[in-house]
Amino acid sequence: MPFEPVILFFLLGLTAGIARSDLKIPGVLYESLSIFLLLAIGLKGGIELARHPVATLLPQALAVLATAAAIPLVAFPLLRRFGGLGRADAASIAAHYGSVSVVTFAVAAAWLAGRGIEAEGHLIVFLVLLEFPALMIGVLLARGAGNGTPWGRVLHEVFAGKSIVLLVGGLLIGWAAGPQGIQPLDRLFIDLFKGVLALFLLEMGLVAAGRLGDLRRAGPFLAGFAIGMPLAAGVLGALTGTLLGLSVGGATLLATLYASASYIAAPAAMRIAVPEANPALSIGAALGITFPFNLLLGVPAYHWLAGSLEGAFR
């Protein structure tokens, strides 16, 4: 099969949603599954962190953060000028695309694993690091640094937000307890990960089906942006990864991170920090187009890209 089997669950949810099935995944199950996924990803990252001396990761991490910051900074003027969007909307969408999608990352990792392609484990650490800077940039773009931005409130929303708490908390626990300490928890957090991911994708399909109406209202520019932006960001990610000496698998994952758009942390933070922005636009683009695009076509494309760059640069 050209794509990861778990994606079929997304398509099932999408179909059920479009057919107005009475299949509804209770909101509480959504929350429970997302708590599980965020914590499990954090734990995996922490175990990787325990294996690598943090110091050796630092230069790579800084390079990754610096290049990734380009994504929202480029997206913002594009959306303003060519999309004709207002300041708040452009900033909010830029923040969504600058941040990352945990589930897209997990599907990419599964896709690589299903093909036996190795990837550096510490990419998860980058996932955690890339989650929030774009959110801050988004708020800066919307409001400027100065007058009247309730920065305390915004910082609290970002850093005490569910996804950062669970990702960073899981990271610290995995790092402190180490591989042997976490091992009795593997039955839950490692073995069941992919099955839970499948259930979550079923739910995301149902949610995405409900966003299709928003999409129609969003117009063709945003639809194009929702495919062009991840492709461009994917190139940047694959390039960065290759130059940093990551394996093809690692560069694929970094490209996926750059290309993915957040729909867990970003909507929550932007709603509070930039309330004037219309969430239907950012979520419609990120979840309705970019997310399925990345699952179905993006990941294989980034892998092909990473392979080509590896050939070119070494």
Binding site: G27, V207, G210, R271, I272, P275, E276
Partner: protein, 104 residues
Amino acid sequence: MSPRTTPCKLLTIICEAQLENDLVDDLQRLHATGYTIADVRGRGACGVRDAAWPPSASIRVEVLCDERTAGNIVDHLERRYYAHYAMVLFLGDVAVLRSGKFTS
């Protein structure tokens, strides 16, 4: 109505679930003596909010209070949230037992 009951305002707020933390702080600051919150879903001017995931979840907040407090809360909510958030407000008249509990 029984002589032991006193008239009281019941303010109901239906809004995005994400406002809960802020709203609760606002209510305390505006001297509401309490509140009650339920999770709901619905449709309104901002479209369908089906509670299938956090961004589309809604809450229904009830506040028993005197008329002045209700007015203050309505003013504040209208100023701070009404323009940018899915929000509906309505006021009703009820009779409470032990009214001391609901005046600030």
